[in-house]
Structure formats: C-alpha cells, structure tokens
Point group: C2
Chain length 152, copies 2
C-alpha cells in the first residue's frame, strides 16, 4: 500500500492513470459493459461499485477544464434525459472529490461504444446497475501542483 493512495488502485491502474496525458480518455464501466472487446487495455477493480472506484480515481486523476464535460455518462436507451442512481451517485462524487465546478455531460450508448474503442483504457468494476458507464477526460496539473481549472 502507499501513503494517501486508495488501495483499490492496483499497480496496473496506477500505471495507466499516470501514463495518461491531457485529453486522454478513461472509461469507467459497469460489469455488463463489453470492455474486453472494446479496448486492449482493460483493468479490473472487482469487488467495488462505480461509486467506490470513482472516489479513488477522482482523488488523483485531474479532470479536463479545457472541455465542457470532462465526465460524460452513458444515456439510458429511449430516455436520454433521465439520470439513474448510478449517474446521480457519480455526479455527487465528482462534486465531492473533484469540486463543484465540474459538469457531467451525456452521450448515446452506441456513440459511447465508439469512444470506448478509442479510449486510453477501460476500468471495469462489479457495478451491476445498468448504464453505469462513464467517460473521464484527463486534465492538466499546473507547475504548482494544483489542477488547471480554466474559466470555471
């Protein structure tokens, strides 16, 4: 284990989060998502749900302030405006851990798949609630060590 780093973040996950640069996209998906057929770099965080994984990730992963929605949820089929419990939880955790200035966008399921194929990596959890899938875009750490928050 390491000091002030959530132990659910494995060596492989830490490697990937550190290797990502500005604008690279990370998929955080539920356990039904076809992760392995979408991307060659898949990490498992079994035993946790989306909320727990998101808390750990947001604690070290800077969000991208150069785009409007650095966090994007998968839309529910035929009901794109509805936020289910997982979506609401993720939104709350984003505000709690990363700050209240970040906004969550949404994307239609098949467009999400296209994003997943081009993402840097996918983290899959044991989240069982449907549509519990998100795109997180990595931001910038400034020379002083703080997250670059542009016009927010």
């Amino acid at each position: 284990m390491l000091i002030n780093i959530d132990p659910i973040l494995s060596p492989e996950v830490l490697y990937t989060l550190r290797a990502m640069g500005h604008g690279d996209k990370l998929i955080l998906c539920d356990s039904n998502f076809p992760a392995y057929s979408m991307n060659s770099r898949v990490h498992r965080i079994d035993g946790v749900d989306t909320a727990k994984a998101a808390k750990a990730i947001f604690s070290i992963f800077p969000l991208d302030s150069f785009i409007k929605y650095p966090v994007v949820r998968m839309q529910i089929d035929d009901n794109p405006e509805e936020l289910n419990d997982v979506h609401k939880e993720l939104n709350n955790i984003m505000h709690e851990v990363a700050g209240t200035n970040w906004e969550m966008g949404s994307i239609e399921r098949f467009k999400f798949y296209d994003e997943a194929k081009n993402a840097f990596a996918i983290i899959t959890t044991n989240e069982t609630r449907p549509f519990g899938c998100f795109i997180l875009t990595k931001g910038v750490i400034k020379p002083d060590g703080s997250v670059w928050v542009l016009n927010k």
Copy 2:
C-alpha cells in the same frame, strides 16, 4: 500527471512502489552503482539527485517500523562511521517527509551489493556523489490510512 503525486515518479516507478509489500526492499542508488547487473527490475529517474528522488518516494512510500533501520546507507570504504553530504541529505529528508522518529542505519558496501541482488527493485538516479546508495524497507499502512509506527 496526477494530483498530489510527484511527477518524477513515472508509471513504472508508481507500479513498483504499489506492488511492493511489507518488508520488501527498494534500493535507491547513485549513477555509478551497477544497478542493471544487480537486479532485473531497474527504474531510471534521470535528471534528479538522491535528495529529489527521496523526497518523491518518501511522500508515498511507508517505512517499516518493525525493524530498527528502515533506511540504510552504504558505508564509505574504510570509513564506516562517516556520513557524507548525500547521507546527511537523505537523513534530513527522511525526517522532514517521513517523520523524525525514523533512524538511518548503515551497511558495508559488499553486503549492500548482496541486498541489492535480493531487493524488489532498484531506482537509479543521476546522483554523482559517491556512496549515495540506500536501502528502503517498505512498511505497513493501517486500515485508517496512516503509516503503522510501532513503538516509536
């Protein structure tokens, strides 16, 4: 880059530090040390000296309180009691970053080589001052997230 993690810690170094468990040993060595002939897992942090590397490592790497000397310096040949500038710097950084309760031990150079062969990994820097080589033993993080400090 990641939030509150020193950017000199590469994906590979983060991977290794996270993969290590209690009692595993990390060698932090100078640029003359024969790292690659001692151990199959060598990470380079070029461009920094021992002090800078140690600051970054100590910020996330818990020291082992189950042994007397979780940090051990390489003794100067024929002058085992002398602490050179690198040794003094490392000792100060250990106290500044990890806490004042930790003690630095010492070991003869050829015994150090034996330890390096059996270590989990070696991190080599651009430190050019001689005998700037150290053994760091990994400790334990408690369930509450703090470093286990036993009888110190």
